[in-house]
């Protein structure tokens, strides 16, 4: 029973799509305007020039942040518009964006380990004079 209802529904859906000149069969999808695509390309090219331009100046520790910030804006545009993510289903958004989230875990823990190894090193150097004076408890008892 339910088989028929289901398949008939699917069929009716396809037929309806045909009546409307095609396009609706695959569910909601979005045909973006050509003008928007062109505008996005223009912005991406301008941002490429900006990337090169800011690399001529030295902002110290902020260099990496600025470069990655601009790249992220460009990437977001490609993902949202060229890849149609703006109009995609919630689950597809979650899937793709979660890959960046989990990747950031790899970055955060690995780089945190590297950064804090330096702290370890500094702690050991400052401790050295103290260590030299340190006496094992067993030798204290003998005195």
């Amino acid at each position: 029973m339910s088989a028929h209802t289901h398949n008939d529904h699917g069929h009716a859906h396809a037929d309806a799509g045909h009546d409307h000149g095609g396009g609706l069969q695959m569910g909601h999808h979005h045909v973006s305007s050509a003008a928007m695509f062109f505008n996005v390309l223009a912005i991406l090219l301008v941002l490429t020039i900006v990337t090169v331009a800011v690399s001529r100046f030295d902002f110290g520790g902020a260099n990496m942040l600025i470069a990655m910030g601009i790249a992220s804006v460009k990437a977001s545009l490609v993902i949202a518009i060229f890849m149609h993510m703006k109009w995609d289903t919630a689950i597809n958004k979650i899937v793709f964006l979660s890959s960046f989230l989990f990747l950031s875990l790899l970055f955060i823990f690995t780089l945190a380990d590297q950064a804090t190894r330096r702290v370890d090193h500094e702690m050991h150097t400052t401790r050295t004079p103290v260590d030299k004076q340190w006496v094992h408890p067993s030798t204290l008892e003998k005195h």
Binding site: G10, A14, L41, T48, A71, K74, F82, V95
Partner: protein, 244 residues
Amino acid sequence: MSHDGHHSIVIPAPGPEFVPHTVAHHFDSPVQEFQSMKLGFWLFLATEILLFGGLFAAYFYFHEAFPETFRVGGAQLDWRLGAVNTTVLLVSSWTMAMGVRCAQTSQKQKTLMFCALTLVGAVAFMVIKFFEYKAKNDHGLVVFSELFSGYNEATGQLAWFKDYDGVMANVPHGHMFFAIYLTMTAIHGLHVVIGAGLIIWIMKGTAKGRFHAGYYLPVDLVGLYWHLVDLIWIFLFPLLYLVP
């Protein structure tokens, strides 16, 4: 198997130059097929992000460890060629997006044209890449003929890193930047080549009229793949050519 309830679902072709699409037997509707394939492909793209992510993590790790090596190494790359290649990929990403759009609206000739333009972009990218690699080879920064000749324990020399001009003489582990540069761009280049192959494949399908407003899924998925290739390059360009 012939169950009464199992007639296949066919999406009709929008015109005589197109071919109808039959929905795979285990799907109940075209919507289900489309959404399943699309979710599957986004998941695949997520794995690509994490695969490249390992390389990016390595980049940041050693950029932090040897900042001077990366600064001097990055200066050996020609940022102009990098910028040209960035532009090539961005434009090709645009032509791909337009190609998908034309497939969505059943414009067969335009789909073919935009796919062909994207393919031109892919070839241009690889040609420019070839000349970049050749320059590195000529300066002894990556000697391709001795790439697999190994490391000499006694002299501490790496066969593929000769540095004829001595540009990396004053920085520690000068080969490190070029090893990462080579690995990242080579794996990215491999994706460009695979993407080009996929574009040829969908051009064949388009020519046969398989893709139209009723069924443009493969064009859409190859488009996503191509944009991912562009996406990765957007980060590679500043990191490798304009080392921050």
